[in-house]
Amino acid sequence: MKQEYIITIFSENNIGLLNRITINFTRRKINIESLTVSQSAISGISKFIIVVNETEERVKRLVAQLDKIVDVLKTFYHTSENMIFAEIAMYKISTELIYGNDELGEIVRNSGAQIDEITKDFIIIEKSGLKKETQDLFNKLNKFGVMQFVRSGRVAVTRDRIERLSEFLKTRDNELEKLN
């Protein structure tokens, strides 16, 4: 059964690695729903968070292929339940529209969004949360017209106490030592 999986890849910070990672998805015709790359808590190591809708079987095999990439340290996969995650969305709305419309003002006030900038032409508001929440707000605002909308890729951390990679790095050092 297909469901949402969050794939976390820890890697060296090298040029071209994103391409090497994504071709593994393309080749198997797996769509990337969301992708975020950032530094991890461990210096010099990048963290990719990729969301896919797939069967666990295919995700497992994909993860094994990703793990095989020379510059990849370790790949994990989780279901949404095992992670805390969020996305940020930004909405640009016409200022004129808000001033003349009580209902719209009400939606913005109750949305838990913050206002980033107000000019005489437009207002930019920002909201973080689950995709469903930011999408709901979009649907409500868009009845009146949203000039621009953008949602970030997913950021996520596991419910574990420390980055799982730290444990992995310790074992890896041992394994490499034994190998020589």
Binding site: S11, G16, K60, R61, A64, D67, K68, V70, L176, L179
Partner: protein, 572 residues
């Protein structure tokens, strides 16, 4: 420590540090500085100028398969580099260690559609184990060290380094070469899990009808002796994948032949009778398994494998043993109980007899009709006393050569397995001969594949490499024609070839050549070829519509193997 040397010289010196003595390549604008540096090292490095980059890379593959060391290949930017891609993809599929070095336009021109610029790093990414673009000459020694380590360790594979022209002319203030032994993000091989060994031993000791599958991993990890010891102690019958050919001597009493689509009858049909499959360094290719859902569902499975991504990729296994096959096999041998499996082996012998009577005998000892591919292969194998290195192209001739050639020694089979690259044979034979100058190299090539890379006959002649090329000419793209005959109602759509005079072509390259079309002259023609001290091309005009049997039709179950086309379902 050397001081103030060019990036190009650093390339050559680094290769020398890695023990490289043979390079296959083709120069061009963006790699001229490296070729210029090579000019001063002609005594130390044998550079083989191929006639096309595809020839260079397949030759490097042949060299790598025979030596076990990384094959090294040079090409220029743009078309030079893109011409390597087929060979790199081939090496990736067949786990061949390779280090390819391509020239690239100067770094300020990158991304401007400069003359002969192509995004080689991007293009080669899906078919390399690792690749890297060097634009800073100071990186050259470190990156080359890393390239060799990655290409040759763990599950081997091709690596490509793209070096910009300004990096080649850059002056390195200091040059010091340190071999690479470790990369934090890369674990080439896992420690063997002893619990898994115990689990496997238990299955092996309990098995009544086990079968061992020999893959190329046995050859790559130099585990031929460990394999033999294991088999002889346990009495387990073995069968091999195409790339596992020659890991176990052909005449070994526990060697029951090839697996898969055109493999032997016993190993295929009995796969679905075994109670235990022990797969060693193989990846359950679809040409081996046939229909996956009906592949040995009754059997427990043990998989000895170095690459974690191969575990449970196609076939779910009960006991995976990650690690080097040489080590795993010797641990198993130590712990398993001796056994004989006499009755079970008898089943294989019965199958062998059935196959011999219905297929093999008329293939290799035909009494009438035109010369067959099978008898040609048999005679070549006999006349070379099973000591030759056999190179093949792809297609019917490849399957027949794999079925009927016999081997005493490992690393004797050079063939394109996973990718099935036509045109592989002639250049790979060239590389194999350079890798083993004292061994006889025979190459079986079809008339289709011959015309894909025949320009390399010139390279063979130039270097006086005594390669023996046996052109099995049926004036057809034989394997496709066979499928059209069996599965497409004989609609021979574009498989008939209007061929040139192959003898004249070979002689035009300065290669001694002859043609044989009558059975009574076949043996003497082959003898003449083998006795000839230099390169030789023997064209054998064979039966036009000969089929390769047995055959497991694509997508069929291994036990649905056809012995003849008339008898599509001789099942037991």
């Amino acid at each position: 420590m050397l001081k103030n040397i060019t990036g190009s010289k650093a390339v050559i010196l680094s290769l020398l540090e890695e023990g490289v003595d043979t390079i296959f390549g083709y120069p061009g604008g963006a790699i001229i500085p490296i070729y210029d540096a090579l000019y001063d090292f002609k005594e130390k490095v044998n550079h083989i100028l191929a006639r096309h980059e595809q020839g260079a890379i397949h030759a490097a593959e042949g060299y790598a398969k025979v030596t076990g060391k990384a094959g090294v290949c040079f090409a220029t930017s743009g078309p030079g580099a893109t011409n390597l891609i087929t060979g790199i993809a081939d090496a990736m599929m067949d786990s061949v260690p390779m280090v390819c070095i391509t020239g690239q336009v100067a770094s300020p021109s990158l991304g401007t559609d400069a003359f002969q610029e192509s995004d080689v790093v991007g293009i080669s990414m899906p078919v390399t184990k690792w690749n890297y673009q060097i634009t800073n000459g100071d990186e050259i020694p470190g990156i080359i060290a890393k390239a060799f380590y990655i290409a040759q360790s763990g599950r081997p594979g091709p690596v490509l380094l793209d070096i910009s022209k300004d990096a080649q002319t850059h002056i390195l203030k200091e040059f010091e070469y340190k071999k690479c032994h470790q990369i934090r993000s890369y674990l080439p091989e896992h420690q063997i899990n002893n619990k898994r060994i115990d689990d496997a031993v238990k299955l092996i000791n309990e098995a009544k009808r086990p079968l061992l599958l020999v893959g190329q991993g046995v050859i790559i990890s130099h585990a031929e002796k460990e394999l033999k010891d294991f088999l002889e102690k346990t009495g387990i019958p073995a069968a091999w994948t195409l790339l596992g050919l020659s890991a176990l001597p052909s005449d070994h009493p526990l060697n029951f032949g090839m697996l898969g689509m055109h493999g032997n009858y016993g190993p295929n049909i009995l796969t679905n009778k075994t109670d235990l499959l022990i797969a060693v360094g193989m990846r359950f290719d679809d040409r081996v398994t046939g229909q996956v859902s009906s592949y040995a569902p009754q059997a427990k499975k043990i998989h000895l494998e170095i690459d974690p991504s191969e575990i449970n990729k196609i076939i779910k296994v009960d006991v995976p043993i990650l690690g080097d096959a040489k080590k795993s096999l010797s641990l198993l041998t130590e712990k398993v109980k001796p056994n004989k499996h006499t009755k079970w082996l008898e089943k294989f012998r019965q199958c062998d007899k059935t196959e011999y009577d219905t297929v093999i005998s008329k293939d290799i000892h035909p009494e009438k009709g035109k010369i067959t591919m099978g008898e040609t292969v048999r005679i070549v194998s006999e006349k070379t006393h099973q000591e030759a290195i056999m190179v093949t192209d792809v297609g019917q001739q490849q399957m027949i050569a794999a079925r009927y050639s016999k081997f005493n020694n490992s690393r004797s089979c050079v063939t394109s397995g996973g990718l099935g690259t036509m045109g592989y044979g002639i250049p790979a034979a060239l590389g194999a001969q350079l890798a083993a100058p004292d061994r006889t190299v025979v190459a079986f090539i079809g008339d289709g594949g011959f015309q894909m890379t025949l320009q390399e006959l010139g390279t063979i002649v130039e270097h006086k490499l005594p390669v023996k090329i046996i052109l099995l000419n049926n004036d057809f793209l034989g394997m496709v024609r066979q499928w059209q005959e069996l599965f497409f109602e004989k609609r021979y759509s574009f498989t008939e070839l209007q061929n040139p005079d192959f003898v004249m072509i070979s002689e035009g390259f300065g290669m001694k050549s002859s043609r044989v079309s009558k059975r009574e002259n076949l043996e003497s023609s082959i003898q003449k070829m083998i006795d000839y001290p230099g390169p030789y091309m023997l064209e054998v005009k064979v039966e036009q519509e000969e089929d390769v049997f047995p055959m497991v039709p694509s997508g069929a179950c291994v036990s649905e193997i056809m012995l003849t086309k008339e008898n599509k379902d001789l099942k037991n």
